[in-house]
């Protein structure tokens, strides 16, 4: 088994808000992230897949194919979009770094030929990132 990691970047707007709470409660819990005008980040995505090396090609996965999958499933959907308003999985879930990691896992799991998705790591900023390994 060998692990391969591919990076991708996207820039998106979001805010943190739970409709079940009062505005005061949202502001208390989420602080400045609750500003309804939104704010944004340059996100860096690291997708790690695990698999066996193909004896002929020497690849675990074709990196170009993985790049295209990330572009189609994630970057094309998230980049230069408002996550709360334009990405369906965040209609009813707060687009925190943790939830973005889980959402990207769901978008990619089972879609990578010849390899198993191992980890989704998403950096909101260089000093803050979340990991998801598909655990329940």
């Amino acid at each position: 088994m060998i692990f391969l990691t591919r990076k991708a970047e996207f820039s998106s707007a979001h805010y943190y808000w739970n409709d079940a709470w009062s505005p005061e409660e949202n502001e208390r819990v989420f602080g400045k992230c609750a500003n309804r005008n939104g704010h944004g980040h340059n996100y860096t995505l690291e997708v790690t897949v695990a698999g066996e090396i193909d004896r002929t090609s020497g690849f675990v996965v074709d990196l170009k194919e993985l790049k295209d999958i990330l572009e189609r499933e994630v970057v094309g959907v998230y980049d230069h979009r408002h996550l709360n308003l334009e990405v369906p999985e965040f209609r009813n879930a707060v687009p925190t770094t943790e939830n973005i990691a889980i959402a990207i896992w769901r978008r990619l799991d089972g879609r990578i030929p010849n390899a198993k998705l191992h980890r989704v790591r998403i950096y909101e900023m260089p000093d803050l990132f979340a990991d998801y390994y598909g655990e329940p």
Binding site: V29, E98, A130
Partner: protein, 146 residues
């Protein structure tokens, strides 16, 4: 669903690697330039990883503001712009980054909003240390090991 949140903090501190269990010559031989009696310093980067179920209401493993204020109070206020050798935790152990990493792990074990999984400390861009809890060597007779 269980996810992991990692946050990086930075502080600057001085230290000197030295143990009274060795004589001066042996300290110099073992610790080299790190044994300079006047000390030297680093910009340390600490990366803490916390794991837990994502709260469906907040979308969070833990509230980052709580983690940051904990780190400010118990990590940065304690270590930033200090001489590590003068601190209580390095009274009986050498202020290596191995020992510092274990001490920082002990600090964040007290953060109760999520479970501490891992501490990673970079002393320089070339040297980094990791500790995820678990067994440490039994206390040694000499004071130079933890």
């Amino acid at each position: 669903m269980k996810a992991y949140l990692s946050r990086r903090y930075r502080f600057s501190a001085s230290h000197r690697l030295h143990t009274d269990a060795y004589d001066a010559a042996k300290n110099r031989a073992v610790f080299g330039k790190c044994n300079n009696p006047h000390g030297h310093g680093h910009n340390y980067t600490v990366q803490v990883t916390l794991g837990g179920q994502v709260d469906p209401a907040t979308g969070m493993v833990c509230n980052l503001a709580d983690l940051d204020s904990f780190a400010e109070k118990y990590l940065l206020a304690r270590f930033d712009h200090t001489n590590l050798n003068t601190l209580e935790c390095f009274k009986n152990v050498v202020s290596t980054t191995e020992n510092l990493t274990v001490e920082i792990y002990r600090i964040f074990e007290n953060f109760t909003a999520a479970r501490l999984e891992h501490v990673h400390v970079e002393e320089t861009s070339n040297n980094s240390f990791d500790y995820a809890g678990g067994a440490l060597p039994a206390p040694a007779k000499i004071s130079g090991t933890i």
